[in-house]
Amino acid sequence: MTAARKPRAPLGAISASLLALLAAGAAGADDATFTSTRALGVTAGAQIYGHICQGCHMPQGSGAVGAGYYPKLAGDASLASWRFVVLTIVGGRNDMPPFGLSPEAANMIRAVHLSDAQIADVANYIETHFGNHFPHKVTAAEVAALRRAEHID
């Protein structure tokens, strides 16, 4: 967020979703008819994690426990499957919104669109941080293939 006024990278997929958000108007109990925030230049996995994922999974991937819990990403056996990780990011899981929807579809439910490359990036970041050392390097093409197989677009 500190970089909000100074994008660190050219406008990426997030800026497209922001433009869509701008046109979205009110939904639910919200009346944000005027949302037109700037692109944040988040393109790399570490930045996406820091801007989005850590809101729930926490800065060190530690998760959190209240009436329910956010799964920790550190030492979670299910992360051994990169497909599980990618499908979770693409399609969402329970509380977690999907990030693989098209900008238009994401906008309909006030979710955020990430590109296949961004999803691959953040999946690789999670798979190689917080004590995780999973070797497979996910590609954007693999994300796209999984996304299409699950009819998420």
Binding site: A24, A29, T33, T35, T37, G55, I109
Partner: protein, 537 residues
């Protein structure tokens, strides 16, 4: 209007409707309607639950609006009711943070609210439309005093960081000028015979007259700086008395600049059905409703109870819970013949519960919205003293999105609390990812670009990020048309002896009325099942 003008030409009614609505407003409303957001409350008066089986019992999980509506009505109908609540207070998302309150979010960050006496932030709902009759009826029954909530304040701001040198404009200026410029344009088109195909000569006369009145046009159908247009958009020098009272008209903003500024996007903010006058807020904070319900239910609510599992069999429902302050130390089991479960879906999805596959799938199919509210206390009410803003909302393209001014306590001495930010979507996720103190700091930094007094007058703040809320893990259920078609009925249908209720089980997502009406709908069905001996759903 005439039939001979061609099948595809807009009718007069359609034409006037196009004038009356900005394209954004109309498109937005249709999109909302498709999602069910603009649906009207189905509240039809107090629920009638006559003939409850003798000694029948219901366990209610959660003491938010849905849980307490259920518990209150079922108890009044003669059921033995017990409520389990995770928080140490009633209300759930119906909640006001006041001075002395302590809030610990997921991840452990703890904030101490340092607002002065009588000042508050509503982290959740903050307004009640007049047509939310279910919720309003409980306010009336419990004596919760209401006051007006101003959705639209003509003297609040519309602000774009990319227009007018980043300086905010008054809502009245943008609305009057947009309306006036569009009226002038349409009048010109009419006079130049551009509408001859669509509008008959006779109707053109009527149209011109209506445009003149609607747009504050002069006798030559022009919108220009004058006392007439200033009576809509405001003056450079307001009319007054005596020798100094002569008004000085202001100059309108040109159409091109107006369109380029994008500020017209804010004009329709009070036109949506959910945002139309009248709206209300409880005196003293939205939390007054939850507190009133809590008083009504008294010892029926068991606080600090964290639900660990829910198990039903042919005779009833067993719920294992523990004191959330002492995890793992003292597990207890509550039992009743029936269960109304209002636990938010992100949490319910993680609680073992033996229900059918359709309900299980529905519980996992609804992601929750990310939203942030930040309350800022200032040393004085500068928005009133310096800028004549009494209540209402300023809209901005900055990440803070909204600044909400208190609709109460006008002209009072001492400090005041603003809603400094109310954010959705990506920016809300990003604010959530920051420590609370940084959220407050960024909110002050952005807000100061609209009110420079922030620098001098800021006192303290508190920030609630709904995805960090331990008792909801999100703001409200986000249904897509596809997920609603596939899962909504499964979510609402009684499964054995368990029925779900809450805003997530409604077409009024994110509204308290959704929780209230879903509860009334659910307990009505549960009651009929109980009366029939549980033989059929």
């Amino acid at each position: 209007m005439s039939a001979q003008s061609g099948a595809r030409a807009p009718s007069r009614r359609e034409l006037l409707r196009m004038i009356g609505l900005t394209a954004g407003g109309a498109a937005m409303y249709q999109a909302m309607d498709a999602l069910g957001f603009a649906a009207q409350s189905p509240y039809r008066g107090p629920v009638n639950l006559q003939g409850a089986p003798r000694g029948a019992s219901v366990l209610v999980l959660g003491s938010g609006m849905a849980g307490m509506t259920s518990a209150y009505e079922l108890r009044n109908a003669g059921y033995r009711v017990r409520v389990l609540e995770y928080n140490p207070r009633p209300g759930g998302r119906n909640w006001s943070l006041r001075g002395g309150d302590v809030y610990t979010e997921l991840g452990g960050a703890t904030q101490h609210c340092r607002f002065d006496e009588g000042l508050y932030l509503n982290p959740g709902p903050w307004r009640i439309p007049y047509h939310h009759r279910g919720l309003l009826s409980y306010c009336k029954r419990f004596g919760v005093a209401l006051e007006p909530f101003f959705q639209v304040n003509y003297n609040a701001y519309l602000h774009s960081s990319r227009a007018f040198g980043g300086r905010p404009r008054r809502f009245r200026e943008i609305k009057a000028d947009y309306q006036g410029q569009v009226a002038e344009l349409l009048a010109k088109a009419t006079q130049q015979s551009a509408l001859d195909v669509s509008v008959s000569k006779e109707d053109q006369e009527k149209l011109l007259e209506s445009l003149r009145v609607w747009g504050a046009l002069d006798t030559s159908y022009a919108y220009r700086g004058s006392v007439l247009t200033s009576s809509r958009r405001g003056y450079d020098h307001n009319p007054g008395g005596g020798l100094s009272g002569r008004p000085v008209p202001s100059q309108p903003i040109g159409l091109a600049e107006l369109l380029d500024s994008q500020l017209w996007q804010g004009i329709a903010s009070g036109d949506d059905f959910d945002m139309q006058t009248s709206l209300f807020e409880p005196v003293g904070g939205m939390g007054r409703i939850g507190e009133a319900f809590g008083r009504e239910l008294g010892p029926l609510i068991h606080y600090n109870a964290k639900v660990l599992s829910i198990h039903q069999d042919s005779r009833g429902v067993s719920v294992v819970y523990e004191d959330r302050r002492a995890p793992g130390s003292n597990r207890q089991t509550a039992w009743a013949e029936w269960c109304v479960c209002t636990i938010p879906l992100p949490i319910l999805a993680e609680i073992p519960m033996n229900v059918g596959a359709p309900l299980r799938a529905a519980i996992g199919a609804v992601p929750y919205a990310s939203a942030i509210k930040v309350g800022l206390q200032f040393k004085r009410r500068f928005w009133e003293e310096d800028e004549e803003i009494y209540g209402g909302i300023t809209y901005t393209d900055l990440p803070i999105t909204n600044i909400g001014y208190p609709n109460t306590g006008y002209q009072s001495a001492g400090k005041g609390v603003l809603l400094g930010a109310y954010i959705w979507g990506l920016n809300a996720m990003e604010f959530t990812a920051m420590p609370p103190e940084e959220r407050v700091r960024k909110t002050v930094e952005y807000g100061a670009r609209i009110h420079e007094q922030y620098h001098e007058e800021f006192d303290n703040g508190i920030a609630v990020a709904w995805h960090r809320s331990p008792f909801t893990m999100g703001c409200f259920g986000m249904w897509s048309p596809q997920s609603r078609a596939r899962h909504y009925e499964d979510l609402c249908r009684i499964d054995g002896r368990i029925v779900l209720a809450g805003e997530h089980c409604s077409y009024l997502n994110g509204w308290q009325e959704g929780a209230v009406t879903s509860a009334l709908d659910a307990i009505g069905r549960l009651h009929r099942l109980a009366v029939s001996g549980g033989e059929k759903a």
